[in-house]
């Protein structure tokens, strides 16, 4: 421990103050306890603060035997100054669905990581993985061994493969959930281990599962296949509880606005008028909902969770193709299947997913996300490939341009025409 080298990091040190947890303090403490990587990382960060440039080299392909993903290679571009982080690869460990842990697992993981890595982590990565931040090439196989043997854990995705699926807390703790989010997430992860570990896709592919349209795992913005819970029947209403909200006994939105005086709760203004479809009204003391007009936006339920609940005929809406901007611009996911029943083993969903992959693997260009393929080849082609039927729910609005494709067999008389016959009717 005596030989740890603390760098002079005046700028980085300024991030110790303030109230929000300081990663600098955390890392420095760990460094001072003997982790040179921690101190070198802060040192290199200081250099970045000086130069306002990163000091990591470009990529570097490293990994474990038989896998094409799960490790991100990383090398310092100033290794002589910070030798302990000359190699600084990250390991993506596939998290358990919805990220519950017990202390035993966490401690084992920490022990392993102190032993074989930098002692620094991200809990969690944006995709959802446990990100173990920084180790050497030599350690990769031993880490993989320890993870699989001691932690019962496996690597997550990286590269052009299925990425680690993730989900919201769902039925484990949330009364809104229309789905067994954990089971779906876990089942897909287990079913598609090969796709996850061995890149065979044109580019990355992400699943995310949210139990309801609040979408607490941001599936609609960040997943090639978003699975979002919904219901077909009526919102369940407890009229007594509605009155309790009106009477002020229950706090609107579960108390989410407690630190500001917004005045007494006004069901008309706060619920009925904000309903995007105007499908609610009061009939005397009864709250009424025209459920056929409801778009299940969750607002009324969010405001009065003790009075309103999603229906019981539950399933998922499937939306596809969300992605960040690279290259054609960001996409939100597009509605593909308005309602699908979600019962283990989710065969209907998997059948759909596999058709999607077949099409994409056949037609997708290198680094073309699935959403971009749809944009390039059209929703029509998407429907043909997946066998889905066109329904108006797939579009915000019908097309406004008149540039419709027709095929020869849709058109009376086909496309073979005789120029001579035409000119017999019409002199040139």
């Amino acid at each position: 421990m005596a030989d740890v080298k603390k760098h002079n990091t005046p700028m980085v040190d300024e991030l110790k103050g303030g109230s929000w947890p300081s990663f600098v303090d955390d890392i420095e403490q760990k460094g001072l306890k003997g982790k040179q990587e921690c101190l070198d990382l802060l040192g290199q960060l200081e250099l970045s603060y000086e130069h306002k440039e990163t000091h990591w080299k470009h990529g570097g392909i490293v990994g474990v035997f038989g896998y094409g993903g799960g490790v991100i290679g990383r090398y310092s571009d100033v290794p002589e100054k910070f030798p302990s982080i000359a190699h600084f690869h990250t390991i993506r460990l596939n998290q358990p669905s919805s990220k519950f842990y017990n202390s035993d697992f966490l401690r084992k993981m920490c022990d392993m990581w102190d032993h074989r890595g930098s002692g620094m982590t991200n809990l969690h990565g944006s995709t959802g993985d446990i990100v173990l931040l920084g180790t050497k090439t030599d350690e990769l196989e031993p880490i993989f061994y320890d993870c699989t043997h001691q932690l019962g854990a496996d690597l997550g995705g990286s590269g052009s493969n299925l990425r680690t699926p993730s989900c919201c807390v769902g039925k484990a703790r949330c009364e809104y959930s229309c789905l067994d989010t954990q089971d779906i997430c876990n089942d897909l992860t287990q079913t598609y281990q090969d796709e996850l570990h061995r890149p065979a896709f044109p580019y990355k592919f992400k699943f995310k599962v949210s139990g309801c349209p609040n979408d607490c795992v941001a599936a609609i913005a960040r997943s090639d296949c978003a699975i979002i819970g919904t219901w077909k029947d009526d919102i369940r209403i407890d009229q007594a509880a509605v009155q309790a909200y009106i009477g002020g006994e229950l706090k609107p939105n579960a108390g989410a606005h407690s630190d500001r005086d917004w005045g007494p709760f006004d069901i008309q203004k706060e619920v009925i008028d904000l309903c995007p479809t105007n499908c609610m009204w009061m009939e005397g003391k009864e709250l009424k909902i025209d459920n056929r007009e409801c778009t299940r936006c969750m607002h009324c339920i969010n405001v009065m969770p003790a009075a309103l609940r999603p229906g019981v005929e539950t399933g998922a809406t499937i939306l596809v193709g969300a992605k960040a901007p690279i290259l054609e611009g960001a996409q939100l996911a597009t509605l593909a299947i308005p309602f699908i029943r979600m019962e283990s083993p989710y065969d209907e969903l998997k059948d759909f997913v596999e058709k999607v992959w077949d099409w994409w693997m056949e037609e997708g260009k290198n680094r073309e996300r699935f959403g971009e393929l749809i944009q390039r080849q059209s929703i029509q082609e998407f429907l043909r490939r997946t066998g889905l039927k066109p329904i108006p729910q797939m579009v915000k609005e019908p097309r406004s341009n008149p540039y419709v494709f027709w095929s020869a067999d849709e058109v009376e008389g086909g496309w073979e025409r005789d120029v001579k016959a035409f000119r017999a009717r019409h002199a040139a």
């Binding site: 303090d25 990163t54 842990y101 017990n102 966490l106 993981m109 009364e175 407690s258």
Partner: protein, 376 residues
């Protein structure tokens, strides 16, 4: 002997073993919830059971020592269980008020040497919860800004909003350190985005060794990269040339080719986007919109970015209706009014000129008079 007894494709540990007993027992039976104070949500089950979830902020970039501390707390109050949220906060579950109080007291007392809280409680309801963010200078090769440092600076400044319910609605802030946008920056109430502003360098000497020229050429969405041959030390070398005027600094060439770095201390910095959202509540999910094209990198505490985020947040807080997300507010009052109220200069950089630009053109006579038109 890592290859001996090799196990592969086992996937993640099964989630169920990590459920606290109350969670396991009441799976799918939760009936309702109430946020009893910022950061503490009380769930009630159809079985009559109750569970308090205590949410604490986290830097996300944390050490094994901190994780051990979390495990220790879990052992002490939570039968050994804890969880992480989708926004990198940590949650502890307890089933009675006494334990809840003890836990909250304990958490409040835990601080880092520099004085920052290890486990600040908050992030529920109409608050600013944890900033979803990415690697920055701590681990990535393409960032234009740091991530953890900027987040720390912004959250220090907004700390009060993390532990309180004072806003009209939840405000989700996200940060991504480059246009790859690893996170939900493209759909956040306020987004802090690292941007490059100089075209890539081309390392003629190195390029053929480290990447395939056709791949580099194909990488550019605007076709700004063309193959070229140059003389290097008397030798003819295949390389590429960038039409600098057509480059929009997306960094895709660098992703494909290490010999085309973009990073530049003077050129790089922050863009601010606002008004995105993800939930389907009331209005449909929305993209964030670019309202401030550039703020220089100012490590270590990024004062301009911090001030700007606060100004937008507080202007929103002072003006929006209850339940109204930032983007809903901006759309309701009109973007001309948004820029006016937030005192943000409108520049041509905020006007779309990419593929779908036409759909953002203003094609009605409906607009509001604002500072922008007052002199006409």
């Amino acid at each position: 002997k890592p290859m001996a007894n090799r196990i592969t494709d086992i996937g993640p540990p099964h989630y169920e073993q990590f459920f606290p007993p109350v969670i396991k027992k009441n799976y799918g039976k939760w009936k309702s919830h109430e946020i009893v104070q910022p950061g503490v949500i009380k769930y009630t089950s159809e079985t009559g059971d109750v569970c308090y979830a205590v949410r604490v902020g986290s830097a996300r970039l944390i050490t094994t020592d901190l994780i051990r501390e979390i495990a220790e707390i879990a052992d002490k109050y939570c039968e050994g269980y804890c969880r992480w949220t989708t926004r990198n906060n940590v949650e502890f579950h307890v089933t009675d008020e006494a334990t809840l109080r003890a836990l909250l007291d304990d958490l409040k007392g835990r601080k880092f040497p520099g004085g920052s809280y290890k486990f600040p409680v908050g992030g529920t309801g109409a608050s600013v919860t944890n900033i979803v963010h990415t690697q920055g200078w701590v681990h990535c090769h393409t960032p234009a800004i740091d991530a953890s440092g900027v987040v720390k600076a912004v959250m220090d400044d907004l700390f009060d909003y993390f532990g309180s319910h004072k806003l009209p609605a939840q405000v989700r802030i996200a940060l991504a350190c480059c246009l790859n946008m690893c996170g939900a920056v493209h759909c956040s109430d306020i987004a802090i985005l690292g941007i490059h502003r100089k075209p890539p360098l081309v390392e003629d000497e190195r390029i053929t060794g480290v990447c395939e020229i056709p791949l580099a050429v194909a990488a550019c969405p605007l076709g700004a990269i063309k193959p070229a041959t140059v003389e290097v030390g008397g030798e003819q070398k295949k390389t590429v040339r960038v039409n600098q005027d057509r480059c929009m600094f997306c960094g895709n060439c660098y992703t494909m080719c290490p010999a085309m770095p973009l990073a530049d201390g003077e050129g790089d910095g922050i863009a601010i986007l606002v008004g995105g959202k993800i939930s389907n509540r009331v209005s449909a999910p929305k993209f964030s919109k670019l309202v401030i094209p550039y703020i220089p990198n100012e490590p270590p505490r990024w004062p301009t970015a911090v001030k700007t985020v606060r100004r937008i947040l507080e202007t929103y807080a002072a003006n929006a209706d209850k339940y109204e997300r930032l983007g809903e507010w901006a759309e309701r009052i009109g973007w001309e009014r948004f820029f006016e109220k937030c005192d943000i200069p409108f520049t041509e950089k905020s006007i779309d000129d990419y593929r779908l630009a036409y759909t953002t053109y203003h094609t009605t006579t409906q607009f509001k008079w604002s500072v922008h038109t007052d002199n006409l």
